[in-house]
């Protein structure tokens, strides 16, 4: 009897089988990263993996696989890209939800939807245009004759630098981030906003004192998604920055190119072509992926703690 009843519910079993697939895929992905990085850990050891020396791709032998410069590069690229993306996305969200100018405010959301269709390789391709328009006139001493340059000219950031990659990455992130910010600002209860407006305060004051504090936890979680996107992108950083680099000498020098974890791992895994692949390099690439995952979880946990604190402060 019970079997018959269960058989009548056959779609639920099929749906369960299909719906459990993403969970299985996720487990397999993480398991694959852990299992594949065993070779790198046993061969190089943690002292080899967490050192500042890196020459994994260019060396003919085993090579050095220190990942400290890559971790620092990840932080640098997050700072640069989110430093541009968060203010602009916030301005776009405010413009489309609170400070609308007639049809322009409504069209903002549609325009962001269209811009989010541009794939990342196009930004990587067009980085050369921004290098010509912005980086070369401003940062390479374009007016000085070549023999009087105080810095050797091949070191100058002609078309590769963390700054340029950060600009291009922020252009990729903004169409993704601004609608999330917009949603967070729209989630503020209308009653609160209208109470503030009815008491005679203007829209800017309402935004500053009512909407923004109320939406802050949503804004923080949205920007954490943006940070994950900035961390995880590999095409723009791989093509603009390059695949491996030493630690920059003044640590905050964004005019040097410091490869983040993703592009370093891509270099290990055959960014220059599949002929350079070897088991140790593949394993090191998998370890890089694992490190990226752990770093993402740490950042998400920090954001979660921050979010809870803001929520508490607002509810008090």
């Amino acid at each position: 009897m019970q079997i018959k009843k269960k058989l009548k519910e056959w779609p639920s079993i099929i749906f369960l089988v299909f719906a459990i697939l993403p969970v299985i895929f996720l487990i397999l992905i993480v398991l694959n990263l852990v299992l594949n990085s065993r070779t790198a850990i046993s061969t190089l050891g943690f002292s080899g993996l967490f050192s500042t020396q890196i020459s994994g791709i260019y060396s003919s032998g085993q090579g050095l696989y220190g990942l400290i410069p890559a971790i620092w590069g990840t932080f640098l690229i997050i700072f640069v890209s989110m430093g541009i993306a968060i203010p602009v996305s916030l301005a776009m969200a405010i413009f489309s939800s609170e400070f609308t100018l007639g049809f322009l405010g409504k069209g903002m959301r549609a325009m962001l939807g269209i811009l989010s269709g541009i794939p990342s390789i196009v930004y990587a391709l067009m980085s050369i245009v921004f290098a010509q328009l912005f980086i070369i006139p401003k940062f390479t001493g374009a007016g000085i004759p070549p023999n009087q340059l105080p810095i050797p000219s091949q070191r100058l950031p002609y078309n590769t630098s963390t700054l340029l990659a950060g600009i291009m990455l922020s252009m990729l992130i903004i169409p993704f981030l601004a609608p999330l910010f917009d949603d967070a600002l729209r989630d503020v209860p209308h009653s609160l906003k209208e109470a503030s407006l009815a008491l005679g305060s203007g829209r800017w004051y309402t935004l500053k004192k009512v909407s923004f504090p109320h939406a802050l936890s949503g804004l923080i979680s949205a920007s954490s998604l943006g940070i994950l996107k900035a961390m995880g992108d590999v095409v723009i950083v791989g093509l603009v920055i390059g695949f491996e680099s030493p630690l920059p000498n003044p640590l905050f020098d964004i005019l040097k190119s410091t490869a983040p974890l993703t592009s370093t791992g891509a270099g290990f895994s055959g960014g220059f072509g599949q002929s350079l692949r070897s088991p140790l390099r593949d394993s090191a690439a998998n370890f890089t992926g694992l490190l990226l995952l752990i770093l993402a979880f740490i950042i998400l946990a920090l954001v979660y703690i921050l979010q809870r604190r803001f929520k508490k402060r607002y509810s008090q």
Binding site: V23, G143, G200, G202, L228, S269
Partner: protein
């Protein structure tokens, strides 16, 4: 001045206008001073924007800062003596512009040192200083100009919001215009229908009953295979991800709301924000593990070279579609979930009241209603598949050997990478400067898909308003 409307946002103004024992201000003089200050600060903002991109405006910032400081000082003195209110913000920005003036006089034209890897031009600093000082002064001058009411406070903050948006949109405009400029003139019919082939091979011929081998080569350039590859990738991805995505969406809304549904939801959101680099590594592992087993033909892919020999490739279209569908499943699942949640309750309850079973309600009421949502999700997923490079980066081939589900994976994005990212640029020398043309085609495909999705979404929201 309307004191009643003034609120806390203009508190210092209110405080100062409360003591009414000041002389009656002449409105014309006030307007003239405000208009001149507005003009100068607006000019300074424009100059700042231009000097962020041009190097030869170096004579202007110093006098502009001087005039701005004088204007702000006159404004402050006028407010102080005639209207009797002290707005210290004006003085602060007057002082800041004086400091900026002195700083720009002191700085040499090129700045370097501290081991920083670059030679910074002075116009960058002057542009940043101009925007950061002149924009706030423009805002508060506008505030006074519009009558210092809460509405004026709203209007005076528009420039702060609009300026970054405008700058960013200019950047996007530059990208799109440059892609069109470089790409559109190069597109021709011959390039679109020719596949790329660059092979040397030996052809066997028979002369006097003895085999002879003649070295031959096929040299063809074109991007047909890359366009077809992108389309095939979209097709395969939607075939794989559509059933799974719909099943996930239905299961977490209709069948289970417990722990399992939460686990599925969380794993979907993790997959959605998973780094594409990790997915690319997974694709590599899939290919490496399957080579040597019976699955190697499916996951590795194979091709026949010009001599007719059989080779294993680095990865097939099926592998790539499988990996990309991990990114697309969450999108479709989310769309299905939204669609099913938007079904009007009376429809659902009516079906149940008439005696329909759960399955009947699902297949005849819920799914037909959420069908447009699913199509929207699918279209967005196709755009994702067309634009993805990182997931197929490590397993792609150069696309010489045709396009079929089991041949080596290739797409327009990989073609652009081959043209631009290859360090010796050998591929580009062969294929010509077609990366911009293929970028243009790629943008047309993905942006066209996202515009379709937008139009569908708009129709959907109309339907929901009617329901």
């Amino acid at each position: 001045m309307n004191i009643k409307n003034a609120t806390k946002s203009s508190s210092n103004y209110v405080n100062s206008t409360m003591n009414n024992d000041v002389r009656k201000p002449s409105r014309v003089l006030e307007k003239v001073i405000l208009i001149i200050t507005l003009f100068i600060s607006g000019l300074a903002v424009l100059l700042g924007i231009f000097s962020l991109s041009l190097n030869n405006l170096e004579i202007f910032p110093v006098p502009v800062f001087g005039i701005l400081a004088i204007c702000l000082l006159i404004l402050f003195l006028y407010m102080r003596h005639v209207k009797g209110k002290k707005d210290w913000k004006v003085v602060v920005f007057c002082g800041l512009s004086l400091i900026a003036l002195i700083l720009l006089r002191i700085l040499p034209e090129y700045l370097y040192g501290l081991n920083i890897n670059g030679i910074i031009h002075r116009s960058l600093i002057s542009g940043l200083l101009l925007i950061s000082i002149a924009l706030p002064s423009f805002c508060f001058t506008l505030f006074y100009f519009l009558g210092a009411s809460p509405k004026a406070s709203d209007l005076s903050h528009y420039p702060v919001i609009i300026l970054p948006i405008l700058l960013m949109l200019i950047l996007y405009g530059i990208i799109i215009v440059r892609v069109f400029q470089n790409g559109a003139p190069n597109i021709n019919w011959h390039m679109l229908i020719t596949p790329y082939r660059w092979q040397d091979f030996q052809q066997e011929t028979w002369q006097n009953n003895w085999p002879q081998w003649i070295n031959q080569s096929i040299h063809q350039t074109g991007i047909r295979n890359y366009i077809l590859g992108t389309l095939l990738l979209m097709l395969l991805t939607s075939i794989i991800s559509l059933p799974i995505g719909i099943a996930v969406g239905i299961y977490i809304t209709e069948y289970s709301r417990g722990l399992l549904a939460n686990i599925i939801k969380v794993s979907c959101s993790v997959l959605k924000s998973m780094s594409v680099f990790i997915l690319g590594l997974t694709a590599v592992s899939l290919v490496t593990y399957s080579s040597g087993t019976f699955l190697s033909k499916i996951f590795d892919g194979y091709f026949l070279d010009a001599n007719g020999n059989w080779h294993l490739a680095n990865g097939s279209f099926i592998t790539a579609a499988l990996i990309i569908s991990l990114l697309v499943i969450p999108i479709i699942a989310r769309a299905t979930e939204e669609g099913i949640r938007s079904v009007p309750l009376n429809l659902k309850e009516g079906s149940t009241a008439l005696g329909a079973s759960r399955q009947h309600t699902l297949f005849h009421i819920l799914l037909p209603w959420s069908y447009p949502n699913i199509v929207t999700g699918l279209i967005l997923g196709c755009a994702e598949a067309a634009g993805s490079l990182a997931t197929i980066w490590f397993i792609s081939g150069s696309g010489e050997f045709g396009v079929s589900p089991l041949s080596p994976v290739t797409s327009l994005t990989y073609f652009i990478y081959l043209c631009r990212g290859d360090y010796n640029l050998s591929f580009r020398k062969v294929e010509g400067a077609w990366e911009y043309s293929s970028a243009l085609i790629l943008i047309v495909i993905t942006v066209g898909l996202s515009i379709t999705a937008l139009v569908l979404k708009r129709k959907l929201s109309q339907r929901q308003r009617e329901a």
